[in-house]
Amino acid sequence: MTDQMIAPPIPIQAQGEDLTLLEEVASRTAGVSRLEMCIQCGTCGGSCPSADAMDHTPRMLFAMLRAGMRQEALKSNTPWICVSCYHCVVRCPQEVHIADVMYTLKSMAIRAKLYRDSTAPDFSQTFVGMVEEYGRSFELGLASQHYLKHFPLRLPNMMPMGMGMLSKKRMSLTPKRIKHINQLKTILKRAKELEAEQ
């Protein structure tokens, strides 16, 4: 064996560690995230009811943020799978605002267009689109639009439920609009401008 046969080591920073990532996530999170306090104990990953469906446990995701793995972290499906049950939040021994960090990661992923599966982001955006338009959520519009796009094959299965909801008037056929929708739109417009200045 000669020296040439041994592959040269890959430099650790080959992918370009992005040490501003953790700070950026913290600064974009509502409240004080305490993200830097994570001791990697795994309470979050252990508590998560939907952890099985996640690419990475929340703990791993936080380690990736620390390691500056921007692409990988933002591509992870983990934040989208989070059901906001807050089990991890109340159990976290370091009081990290885990659920809110997940929201931050989602918004950063949307901004960077880095998610792999568009189901969840689409759902969020459809939902929000309706809210921005009417000031209220519109379940029928949301459900039909969303299922049609992402689960067309499941739609027939969902029909009984949808029909039941409709027949019992638990879903309305037309969206309801708030009175001062223009006021709301003005507020949201200003909020978006402020967000963009960030």
Partner: protein, 336 residues
């Protein structure tokens, strides 16, 4: 009469109509005066927060601003929906914890001629107000039809007891408030260890398989405990567990039939209110069995005398459960 501001939230007018109807029906008897805030908007559920921070909080804060303007001698804003409750509470808390957020949100609100000072409202869930303000003994006094033979699984879901910014609940994992309220109605309340597990949340929309598994865990848990009905405090939980129960049955090849009702509906029944006024019949998994059980006007059985403690104890003694001071006070209120 105590005045409260009410933020109903979108579901109360649609998918959770039964919740709203039954709430309106019981409010009078227990002296709960709810003032719906005018022209409220959607709180954004769990979706807007994941898209953009400032707009999401501005959306929520518009409701807080409207509520604080409407506040006349009261500072309590009641939300019956868990997600709404949490979002409102969260905005109020974080606008204070991160003054910069508060400042940006207020800047946005100003564009619409509004403003909100964090901390100026007490944001509370309906159950909290019923248990801690109205009081269990007052509720118990209104009971004319005790739910004696009904086995109830109390189910709170996630966002009421957690993250609990203002420490309003007895516990994050196994809170006792709903159990005691149902006991005050005379129901047989089962020790339901899954009472704050997740119903699946928005996963019914974005990852049905995951959601169905979470629904199955809860329904099968209640079934194992031989519950006649699961009682919830949240429109989303009700929708997931009731609306998707059939779909979950199909997915796993199971055949559960677990009615899911709002706690206010059971309160109404116990108060002797007509089931129709309480939104019965709107559920997809029929709750007829509940009414049937109660229809049997059998006099309440005298409970069997507790067995005498054996002279020679078997096995090792168990530690006594921890009595938090809050719980102890609450328990004193229920005579049962």
């Amino acid at each position: 009469m105590t005045d409260y501001l009410l933020y109903p939230g979108c579901s109360m007018e649609t998918s959770a109509r039964a919740y709203y109807d039954s709430l309106k029906a019981i409010a009078g008897p227990i002296g709960l005066n709810l003032k719906e805030i005018d022209d409220w908007n959607c709180c954004g559920a769990t979706e807007y927060l994941g898209i953009s921070l400032t707009p999401a909080y501005a959306l929520i804060a518009r409701n807080l601003a409207l509520a604080s303007n409407a506040a006349n001698g009261t500072r309590t804003l009641v939300a019956p929906c868990s997600a709404c409750y949490l979002n409102l509470a969260k905005a109020d808390y974080y606008m204070n914890e991160r003054p910069k957020l508060g400042q940006m949100v207020n800047e946005a609100l100003e564009a619409g001629g509004l403003s909100y000072t964090p901390g100026s409202l007490d944001i509370r869930h309906l159950l909290d107000v019923l248990v801690y303000d109205i009081g269990l003994s007052a509720i118990e006094k209104k009971v004319v039809q005790p739910l004696t033979n009904l086995r109830v699984a109390p189910y709170l879901g996630c966002m009421v007891p957690r993250p609990d910014y203002q420490h309003r609940w007895s516990d994050h994992e196994q809170p006792i408030e709903l159990d005691l309220l149902l006991k005050a109605l005379g129901a047989q309340v089962i020790e339901f260890p899954l009472k704050t597990e997740c119903c699946g949340g928005h996963m019914t929309q974005i990852g049905p398989a995951t959601a169905f598994e979470m629904i199955r865990r809860l329904i099968s848990g209640a079934d194992e405990h031989e519950a006649d009905v699961m009682v919830t405090v949240c429109p989303m939980c009700q929708l997931n567990l009731d609306g998707y129960q059939g779909e979950a049955n199909r997915f796993f090849g199971t055949n559960y039939h677990m009615p899911i009702l709002f706690f206010t509906q059971l309160m109404g029944l116990a108060f002797g209110i007509d089931p129709k006024e309480l939104g019965f019949g709107l559920e997809l998994v029929s709750a007829k069995n509940v009414l049937d059980t109660l229809g049997i006007k059998a006099p309440p059985e005298t409970p069997p005398a507790p067995p005498r403690r054996p002279r020679k104890p078997e096995g090792l003694p168990m530690p006594k459960p921890l009595k938090r001071p809050k719980v102890e006070e609450l328990e004193k209120e229920v005579t049962q």
